[in-house]
Amino acid sequence: MSTLELPRKASEGDHFVSTEPFDPGSAMRLTPEQERFYLASQWKLMWWKFLRHRVAVVSGVILLLMYGSTVVTEFLAPYNLHSRHTDFIYASPQRVHLFHDGHFIGPFVYAQTKRLDMTNLRRIYTPDRSEPRRLRFFCAGDPYRFWGLVDMSFHFVCPAQNGTLFLLGTDRLGRDMLSRILYGARISLTIGLIGIALSFTLGLVIGGIAGYYGGWVDMTVQRLIEIIRSFPELPLWMALSAVLPVTWSPILIYFGITAILALLDWTGLARAVRSKLLALREEDYTTAARLMGAKPARIIGRHLLPGFMSHLIASATLSIPGMILGETALSFLGIGLRPPITSWGVLLNDAQNINVVALYPWLMLPVVPVIVVILAFNFFGDGLRDAADPYR
């Protein structure tokens, strides 16, 4: 045990304080990575941690692509949403080939010849192997109104002149399934987003107020939350959807369904916010802010919330799949969206009967993007949640 030198008494006046400028770097040397790490903001740290979760990144990219496609749906889809082909009802999917008779001629499909089977009352389509129809890219196809504003007819891929391109088959009016699924993405994906935005706002505001003020405000909100959570989810969706007047325009019904889904969802978020706030408002920095005269809104918004915003975002992301599934289920049952709005749920509603399962199974394909989106959101949300607390 070495002898430690006690500091000399102050009265002996022997301090030495150097007047040289102090270089913190001399006390501790950091490698460039460490420096970047320590200097990085919270969001940057989250981003780096997120990147380490590979699956989440892939899911994120997929989601980005899907949402991106909703912006340029009209361009991507080979056909218009409503264009129908009377001669190609219930056509089976056409496969894309690259080699015809051994030669490479670019992507093409074989034309389909139709035969009416009058015994079974069935339309039979067989590919005509002698006639390759080359696909055109960046071409002029079905005219459409881009976002309802500009008349265009520019498509990414179109069928050959006088040809058809039914990559996923057609339905009972001869409408191309691929195009309908692409258009359906617009509705199905955005319902989730808008619904989450609504429910997020509601949850934040109401939970925040309850958590911050406490007292009877908190009790009322608690009761309200309890009442809403006491409703069985699906029956309430059903009941509320039945309430939407069918005479409303499709857009209004769309927002109505979104609102219904959101109204039942915000409680989870509100409770999380509330419990966190109840804890955090006892912290010193909150007291300090209050003493300095900050308004409650500012305290909640600027000081308390950012502490766990990341958690909130993660849990919000994990609620989106629930909303998408909810809308799909409601439309499938026939009490959500209805034609002419096209969402994946509406498309699946058409696929509900034995004819489809036995004879025209390609009509069930809208279930695939539903699965992909939900998987993607789940992985993405998982990644976000893991990244949400980078200091762990």
């Binding site: 009442i227 959570r229 029956p235 009941a239 039945a242 289920a329």
Partner: protein, 332 residues
């Protein structure tokens, strides 16, 4: 403790009251009433309706009375144990629900057992072998269970089972056993039919449970006391079982309460698609045809179950977790 229970029970009353108001409003919101739907439906099929009978029924059921009066009649009836009359089935609501309850409970229990039986070992394995291939693979399966809409799965499985095994489509048993006393053949038929709904309904529940068990268990396994226990030489399995698992099971307990309404209402959409004689399809039809008392009473029943379930969960948590008791609040 008793005081706490008493207070909670007292607070249930205004909650239930508010719920009844909301339920009634929602059911009455769509225009028209049961009789008008009924008439319109018959007319859509080309049949005409005996107007006299309809007028009589309208007056008899009080459908021409103002809404507040109908509400008071309904709530008053419920307090007396008179849960109203189902127009569609032409019999008291309790009889309609009661008939379907047994099968609903059977299916739900089977599903829950299935879910727990599968989720448990998989969740534990996933947590203890984190980031292994098994973990990823099983997680993927779990996610698939959540992602595939269960109604599509039910639909396809139903037809596949018919083609492959000759199972009759829809329902919970072969038609000739309906209404017959229970024999081995009938039980066998019910088993043949129930594996589809159990798997379909269980799929999403299993996945959710696996993920939560895994997440909670992982949280616990990283805590200090686990390190200490290992360092002190406790065999790994005992380490797992004795402490972290119990903590992770917290959420099982808190979930028990919310299981109650699920048992009773039984996965509505899947039941609708598979045409099971359970309470789910009954509710949907009642809502669609505005069978006021049936829909309203059943919704109230479910809501009351949820409220009671929450209470039970809270009590269970308080009983099991001393921290909550001592800190004086419910941490969820």
């Amino acid at each position: 403790m008793l005081q706490y229970i008493g207070k909670r029970l007292l607070m249930m009353i205004p909650t239930l009251f508010a719920i009844s108001l909301i339920v009634f409003t929602i059911i009455q919101l769509p225009p028209g009433n049961y009789l008008e739907s009924y008439i319109a439906e018959l007319e859509a099929q080309g049949e005409s309706v005996d107007q006299q009978k309809v007028a009589f029924l309208r007056e008899y059921y009080g459908l021409d009375k103002p809404l507040p009066e109908q509400y008071v009649r309904w709530v008053g009836g419920m307090l007396h144990g008179d849960f109203g009359y189902s127009f569609e089935f032409n019999m008291p609501v309790t009889k309609v629900i009661g008939d379907r309850m047994l099968l609903t409970i059977i299916v739900s229990f089977a599903t829950i057992l299935f879910t727990w039986a599968i989720a448990f070992p998989i969740g534990i394995y996933s947590a203890t072998h984190q980031y292994s291939w098994g973990d990823y693979g099983l997680s993927l399966l779990g996610f698939l269970g959540i992602a595939i809409p269960n109604f599509m799965l039910a639909l396809v499985m139903m037809y596949v089972a018919n083609v492959l095994f000759g199972t009759t489509i829809g329902g919970l048993m072969d038609p000739q056993y309906i209404g017959q006393p229970w024999t081995w053949a009938k039980i066998k038929s019910v088993l043949e039919h129930s594996w589809i709904p159990v798997i379909v309904i269980g799929a999403s529940g299993t996945a959710g449970m696996i993920r939560r068990l895994r997440a909670n268990l992982l949280d616990e396994l990283q805590k200090q006391y686990v390190v200490t226990a290992r360092a002190k030489g406790l065999p790994p399995r005992k380490v797992l079982r004795k402490y972290p698992l119990r903590m992770a099971l917290n959420f099982f307990i808190s979930d028990i309460g919310s299981l109650l309404p699920h048992i009773i209402s039984g996965a509505e959409i899947t039941a609708i698609v598979l045409s099971l004689p359970t309470t789910g399809p009954m509710l949907l039809n009642a809502l669609k045809s505005q069978d006021m008392y049936l829909a309203g009473t059943f919704l109230m029943f479910l809501a009351a179950l949820i409220v009671i379930g929450v209470l039970i969960s809270d009590l269970a948590l308080v009983a099991l977790d001393p921290r909550i008791r001592l800190s004086g609040g419910v941490a969820r």
